[in-house]
């Protein structure tokens, strides 16, 4: 219901300019407290891998420099170019401080105060601790500067109106729910933290509404309209089990790309493994598998199964 209202509001504001002005002045985000922790480069690099920073902000296929800007993401809203986040002060994030970095990663807000498009998966990083941020920051300092900006996003009206993102945030920005659940094992909770947080499985494996918001009761139910025409299958526990996934073969697939049927991931999942999950420890991969095969179901169970055709890896 709230979403319908918001959608209506969006329509009206396109006509009523004064509302737009009000929105433009609407402050977003919370200024983070000073972060004075010492970061650990190895931990930060590990988290950067897990979180897909490197996968998304590096254009591997075209031989781009690490973190100098990723391959374009073609969506219904336009084409997004993951920016240069190397240490170059002008074209990258070399001129930022750690608090600005924290605000960008956890809250999706740029140093100049504008909101990032949710093509950047910051909603999943909201629960990163100050130590996580300090670690990431330390690791990012080791990246060679690249003095070239990524192209600007090519987004048409009305999505080029950045104030609209404030409405988007109000409607869809939810807590990632990565905190431990009492009564569950440490392994399961670690898996939950990774799956719902850093590794942001839900970014692709959850259906999105017309505004690009993830549909809350379709978590992990799959998405047949990924950027670039890709599809993501359901990763709900019963579907995974039905398709022959076990803790052992799922964690091995995240490490190697090899599925139980003897196929090897390609597409977006191939990239996820090649540039991300295969760098994770076996313990973490196992935790992810334990959680995925036993994840909480969305609250309104009846709505969970979207009419998504399931790609078959066998």
């Amino acid at each position: 219901m709230r979403q319908v209202l918001i959608a209506g509001t969006v329509g009206l504001t396109l006509i009523v300019g004064t509302v737009a002005a009000t929105l433009a002045a609407w402050p977003i985000g919370r200024e983070p407290a000073k972060i004075q922790l010492t970061g650990d480069v190895q931990r930060g690099a590990y988290l950067a891998r897990a979180s897909g920073c490197i996968a998304c902000h590096t254009n591997f296929e075209d031989g781009g420099a690490p973190l100098a800007g990723g391959a374009p993401l073609v969506t219904d809203f336009g084409t997004f170019y993951p920016p240069n986040i190397t240490t170059d002060p002008e074209h990258g994030i070399g001129g930022w401080n750690v608090e600005q970095f924290a605000m960008a990663v956890r809250q999706g807000i740029a140093p100049d105060g504008h909101a990032y498009y949710p093509a950047f998966t910051y909603p999943f990083y909201a629960d990163f601790s100050d130590q996580d941020i300090a670690d990431l920051w330390a690791a990012f300092q080791t990246v060679a500067p690249v003095a070239e900006s990524a192209p600007s996003h090519e987004v048409g009206f009305p999505f080029d109106q950045r104030w609209g993102l404030k409405l988007w945030r109000a409607a869809y920005l939810d807590d990632p729910q990565t905190e431990p659940v009492e009564g569950r094992s440490d392994v399961w909770n670690r898996g939950r933290e990774l799956v719902r947080g850093a590794t942001h499985c839900g970014a692709c494996h959850t259906g999105r509404n017309l505004a690009g918001g993830r549909i809350a009761n379709a978590v992990f139910a799959g998405n047949d309209a990924l950027p670039g025409g890709n599809k993501a299958p359901s990763i709900l526990p019963d579907v995974l089990a039905e398709r022959g996934w076990t803790v052992a073969n799922l964690s091995y697939a995240l490490q190697s790309g090899v599925t139980p049927s003897g196929d090897v991931f390609g597409g977006s999942m191939g990239e996820v493994v090649q540039y991300g999950t295969r760098y994770l420890s076996k313990d973490d991969l196992r935790a992810m598998a334990v959680y995925l095969l036993d994840s909480e179901l969305p609250e309104e169970e009846g709505m969970a199964a979207l009419p998504v055709s399931q790609p078959i890896y066998d």
Binding site: V41, Q42, G44, A45, Y46, A48, R49, I54, T58, N59, F60, E61, D62, G63, P66, L67, A71, P72, V74, T79, A139, F140, T142, V143, A144, E154, D224, G228, G229, N230, K231, A248, N249, S251, Y252, Q255, S256, G257, V258, P260, S261, G262, V264, F265, G266, G267, S268, M269, G270, E271, V273, Q274, Y275, R278, Y279, S281, K282, S309, P311, I312
Partner: protein, 197 residues
């Protein structure tokens, strides 16, 4: 230019999906497309046979690993690339046009698969390595300290140097060589295979 290429790729991909689902994969394919599906399936079966050994789920069997490696090798290299002529039969398949636009990369990956699978056959006797965290330990993650410095880690997801000789591979633990084999599969699928079925 990237966008243009991507858009083109999407159109090609969507067209391919439509046709492929109409043709219903294995049953609908004919001729050379069917031939390569059979070859890919044979490699898939070989991988399926030994991957549980590599992950520790099944008991290691050196002879089975050697045999599987030979099957993969048999279908790799030129045997594979000659199955991908650029003609309209491809409409009923999962191949992306990118394969002909970047034939050199495809041929190189196919050749790499050939030498890695030969290496795996030689390394089969070595059994599994002791490392519990293949990529994650050994500081391999980011080339020993600096996050994204070392070129080899960032270069197209390849785990090891493509020029690695058979002798070197023969000395490695079988699971490490198998990882190189499966990485090669994945790199190629990521670039050149339409995923949606």
């Amino acid at each position: 230019m990237n966008t243009k290429r991507n858009t083109k790729r999407i159109f090609a991909g969507v067209a391919a999906i439509g046709l492929a689902s109409a043709a219903l994969a294995h049953t609908g394919a004919t001729g050379i497309v069917k031939e390569r599906m059979v070859a890919m399936s044979a490699m898939g079966d070989a991988v399926k046979e030994i991957s549980p050994m590599m992950s520790g789920e099944a008991d290691y069997d050196a002879a089975a690993v050697r045999e599987a490696a030979e099957v993969i090798g048999m279908h790799a290299g030129e045997t594979m690339t000659r199955l991908f002529p650029e003609d309209n039969e491809n409409e009923a398949s999962y191949v992306k046009d990118a394969i002909w636009e970047d034939w050199e990369t495809f041929a190189e990956l196919a050749e790499r698969l050939h030498s890695y699978s030969e290496g795996l056959a030689l390394a089969a006797e070595n059994g599994l390595g002791s490392s519990q965290d293949g990529m994650a330990d050994a500081g391999a993650m980011m080339g020993g300290g600096d996050m994204m410095g070392s070129g080899s880690m960032m270069g197209g997801g390849m785990m090891a140097d493509a020029t690695m000789g058979r002798e070197e591979l023969a000395e490695m633990p079988a699971d490490a060589v198998f990882a190189m084999v499966s990485d090669t599969c994945s790199s190629c699928h990521t670039r050149f295979r339409t995923e949606a079925k």
